[in-house]
Structures are given as structure tokens and as C-alpha cells.
Symmetry: C2
Subunit: 335 residues, 2 copies
């Protein structure tokens, strides 16, 4: 595909899936941890998210973009969620990732991943949150939601936790059963929770993965020592947790303090003045041990992840590196 002097490699979803499968999970976790640490340490440029919403059918598109100061490239990631997609046989999440030479603007790679890398980096962030914030001995993992991200979250927790007992809470009994069967093949023993109370009583690590617009878990549902990673809400109108859970929590961690002001569970709790912005920690600062995170197995901890461009930047670079794509376009004549 060499045209007018510029040849931009384009990779398809299947090529990208094979590449990700070839990266050892701990390596991808570490790469994305480095992104969070760079972000919290002020060594990444992450402008505000660009976005559009649609009504009929309902959907939203986010453009997340930026670069690490040390990088030769910048990354622009397009990710959409169209919630009626499953009726058409499509995944809710779609999109692509684009890498550009930071010295020239020349595109260095187009990753036509159809949302796959966004789903993976989101699941990796869940594993990272659990790695740094879960109680020392997780007995049972609770998953709220039974979709693609619900599966990926549990799979990626394998890389950081020994627990293989899990419970799923889903609006649909059929989907909950399908989820339990699928995860059984991945060596998890998954029970179906009748209600949020049962999930809260049995689980000490809970991951919420839905696009719900009203709280699914109440503060009374959560037992001491639980860690919750709230993944689903990435806008102001989405919400999975009763904000009083954040009030009750000893530690509340955002992936991005900046984004948490206007998105996700933290934004709801801040608006209701249940928590104070000064009390928020940032995931990168917990990873770098600048901030302590959880201090005992009796504490309740919450990680509210709205998704930060550093995750996209790091996974896009990792994929390109494994594909042998240089991250700057170079000075070769004619380029």
C-alpha cells in the first residue's frame, strides 16, 4: 500500500488478535501500568476526551488521544458503544486505533481492531486495579454483567489472582447461565447470584461491567474488606454503584482524577458531596507506591475506571512493536 511516498501499514482484527495472544499477559499488564504511572506523574499529554452521542439507535463515540512525553508517536483511538448492536449480530463496542509520527504527523499504523484492543486494555486495567487494591486473599470474584467485558475481566484476573470461584449477577438468567458455562471452560467455577445482596455477601472482589444508568449495588450490599472495580460507567449519565459505596469506602481510586470530575461513579459521588476530590487517589500513584492504596484487609476499596488514553497509547505501541512496525515514520527520502 505504498502511495505518493507514504506507505501506512494497515492491520486487521485477526492480525491484531494473533499479536495480542503472543504477548505474555504480565508484559501487557506492565506496559499499561507504565502508562498509568506516566499519566499520574505528569509525563503524558492527554487532552480532554472528544465525544458524540446518538439517540436512535442509542450510542456514543469517544475519541481518546495523546502521547507519553518519551514517545516518538501519538495515538488517536476511536471507540464507540452502540447498545442495540447485539440485535444485529455485532458487538456493542467498535472502533480503531491510529498511530502517527510525532515529528511529522505521518501515520505509522492503522489498527482496524473493531474495538478489540479497547476491550482488552479495559480488561487489563481491571486486572491492574485488582493487583494493587484487592484484599490479600480473594475468595470469590463477583461479576456484574454477563457480556463480553464481563468475560474479559474474569479472564484477565487470572493473571493477578489465584481465586477461581466466581459469581455472576445478570438481568438475564439465560445470559448468566451462558456466562457460567463459558467461564467454566476457563477453569472458573461460576455461580449465579440471585440478587445484589447475595453477590455482596459471597464476593470480596466485585467488578461491574454494565452500561447501567442507575445503581446496581447498594452500600449495604458490600461487606468489609471488599474491593470493587467499576468499569461500566464512563459518562455522567451511566452509573452502576450507589454513590454511598464511595462514601463508605476507605480508598477511592480513579484512573484519571481529571476525567473522574465529570465521568463515572466518582462524578456522581462528588456531585452529591459524599466524597471530596482531595481524598481521591490516582491509579498510577498507587502503582508507583507514591500513594498507599489499601492499608488492611478490612478496608473497602473502589477503583472507578473511565478509561484513559494512556491505556490506548500503551497497547497500540505494544501491538506495533510486536508487529515490527517502527513508531516513527523515519526520515527516509520520499516519506
Amino acid at each position: 500500500m505504498t502511495v505518493a511516498g507514504i506507505a501506512t501499514p494497515v492491520f486487521t482484527e485477526s492480525e491484531i488478535r494473533r499479536t495480542v495472544a503472543a504477548i505474555p499477559p504480565p508484559q501487557l499488564i506492565e506496559t499499561i501500568e507504565e502508562g498509568f504511572v506516566a499519566h499520574s506523574g505528569g509525563r503524558a499529554v492527554i487532552p480532554p476526551i472528544a465525544e458524540m452521542s446518538f439517540d436512535a439507535p442509542p450510542g456514543d463515540v469517544h475519541v481518546k488521544y495523546g502521547y507519553l512525553l518519551a514517545d516518538p508517536c501519538y495515538v488517536i483511538k476511536i471507540a464507540s458503544g452502540f447498545y442495540d448492536n447485539p440485535r444485529r449480530g455485532l458487538l456493542v463496542s467498535q472502533g480503531m486505533m491510529l498511530l502517527f509520527d510525532r515529528s511529522t504527523g505521518v501515520p505509522v499504523a492503522v489498527l482496524l481492531d473493531n474495538g478489540y484492543l479497547t476491550r482488552i486494555r479495559t480488561a487489563v486495567a481491571g486486572a491492574i486495579a485488582a493487583k494493587w487494591l484487592a484484599p490479600s486473599d480473594v475468595s470469590c470474584i463477583g461479576i456484574v454483567g454477563s457480556g463480553v467485558q464481563a468475560r474479559l475481566q474474569l479472564l484477565w484476573l487470572k493473571a493477578v489472582l489465584d481465586a477461581r470461584e466466581a459469581m455472576v449477577l445478570s438481568r438475564s438468567e439465560d445470559r448468566a447461565a451462558a456466562y457460567a458455562r463459558a467461564m467454566c471452560e476457563e477453569s472458573f467455577n461460576v455461580g449465579i447470584a440471585a440478587n445484589p445482596q447475595e453477590l455482596g455477601v459471597k464476593c470480596d472482589l466485585i467488578v461491574t461491567t454494565t452500561p447501567s444508568k442507575r445503581p446496581l449495588l447498594r452500600a449495604d450490599d458490600i461487606r468489609a474488606g471488599t474491593h470493587i472495580t467499576a468499569m461500566g460507567s464512563d459518562t455522567l449519565d451511566k452509573q452502576e454503584l450507589d454513590p454511598r459505596i464511595l462514601d463508605r469506602a476507605h480508598v477511592v481510586v480513579a484512573d484519571s482524577r481529571e476525567q473522574a470530575r465529570t465521568r463515572g461513579e466518582i462524578a456522581h459521588a462528588l456531585r452529591q458531596r459524599l466524597i471530596d476530590e482531595d481524598d481521591l487517589l490516582e491509579l498510577g500513584d498507587v502503582i508507583s507506591r507514591k500513594d498507599p492504596g489499601r492499608r488492611s484487609d478490612a478496608e473497602i476499596t473502589v477503583a472507578d475506571l473511565t478509561g484513559v488514553a494512556v491505556q490506548d497509547i500503551q497497547i497500540a505501541k505494544a501491538v506495533c512493536s510486536h508487529l515490527g512496525v517502527g513508531l516513527d515514520a523515519g526520515d527516509a527520502p520520499g516519506r
Copy 2:
């Protein structure tokens, strides 16, 4: 390139260039006029521009995106300007255009145009501004700058004006001479202006195309009856016109009133309170004849174009249509 059920057609710069060459200029002008009219009539969704700036080497990236309410797709356009690129044998402007199904988020086409379509739609907008605002009998066209956009502007004016006399003003004598030679091959007779005064005295249609950060034309340089299209400034720090030119002008037209508040020549004039926002017209309203535009050949008119996503949306759709690409991904099973 069929992967995991989704096949996204990817087009290269040479395919895109051939496609644009096959579209009659009046048709492309009309298509982009329709975009401006939809924008000014509130029938387009155009969120604020997303952007990043770079220092070393100097550059900026804009993400412009949106859709017409009547469209089955939305468009995301990435355009960068890296001003040291020519030293590397590269054009300053780079980028790509992406079209997505508005019902599902599935990408319907990737146009790897390396900034070509942005350059064309920018030149087309210059032709549109001249078509609606130039005096009735243009004798000599003045071009400020001698780069790629300076050439394209003059070429596209052919579609709307009979004048073939032109003058170029450039910091570099060599580039001015090269410009004059190149435009001679396009049947223009191009003289080289010694200074802005000479350009202003001889020309009654002036197009400014530079990334200058200080005014290149003064109010005294401009004669009665002149129309100026200011193309170069698309950020707050770029400026090609003395803001008093806008004060002196009888008609000041923005491609987007919203963007003009913070970008381009109008933003400078507004800040200095030389013009009032209520007096601004919008190009789409002039095209639709909602607003009168120029009322006599003695008036000075200014069109300040910062570049609006509707231009990108319209040219991207036109190219896809000529390439036979459907603008929605359809409901075919497995897609």
C-alpha cells in the same frame, strides 16, 4: 480485508486522488456548499474541535468530526500541520478521514489521503467564498503565500471566476518565481508582488494561505471593493490580517461563528473589540441567501475560514459515493 465479520475498505492516496479528479469541480463545490448550509441551518452536529500542539518540531493536530442529521454515517477527520516537514521532503499537512455507520459504529471506510482531501476541501471553501462574496468583475487575484494551498486556491478559483491575472506575495523570491511558473502552466498570468501594498493596489480578490503568527496585510493596503479570504489562521495564535481590516470591512463572514469565537482572524478582532459578534455572518447563511453578503462592488468583504467538519463530512461522503462505498454498514448477518 475481511476479518471477524467486519470488512472495512481502505483507500490509498492515489485511489482518492483519482476519484476526486473524476468529480466535476462544480459538483464538489455544490456538495460542500450543502454542508455549509446544513451547518448554518442547524442540521449538522459538529462538536468542538479536538486538538494537540507540539513544540519540537512545531506542529498541531486537529480532529474534526460530526455528521449531518440526514446522514447515515459520521465522519472523523484527523489533520495535522508540521511546519518543518518540507525539510524532510514531506508536505506540511498530513492526515486521514474515517467514516462510520451511525447506527452501529462500524467503520465503513478508511481514506488514507495523507491530508489530500483536507487540502482540497479547504481550496473548495476558498472558491465558495469567492463565488458568493467577490466583486462582480475580479480583475486580478492576489495570493499570499506560495505553498501547496496557495496553488490549490488559485486552481479552484478557476471554477468560479474568469480572472486569470494574479499576483503572489511570498517571503521567498525563489518560491514566488516557482509559484508563478507552476500557475502559468494552469493558464494564469502571475506577477510577483514586491510588498503587501503592491498586492493590495493591484488585486481585488485576495486569498491568504500562510501559517503566519503576525499580520501580513494592513488595513491601508486594501482598496475599496476587495474581497479577502483568510485561510491560513485556524488557531488563536495564527494571524494573517491586521484586525483593523475586519473593522473596515462591510461584511465579515465566518465558516463557523462558533469556531470564529476562538480561532482565526475574527477571534483577534473580537478580542480587540473591533467587531461585534452580532455583525458576523455565516457562510452557509450567505449561500442559502438567508443573509445578503456583499451588497455592492464598493464594499470590502472578508471571509475568515478556520475549516469546519461539514467540509470533511461532505468531501468524504462524495469520495465514498464515487468509490461505490455504502455509507452505512448495513444489516447483513455477520457484519
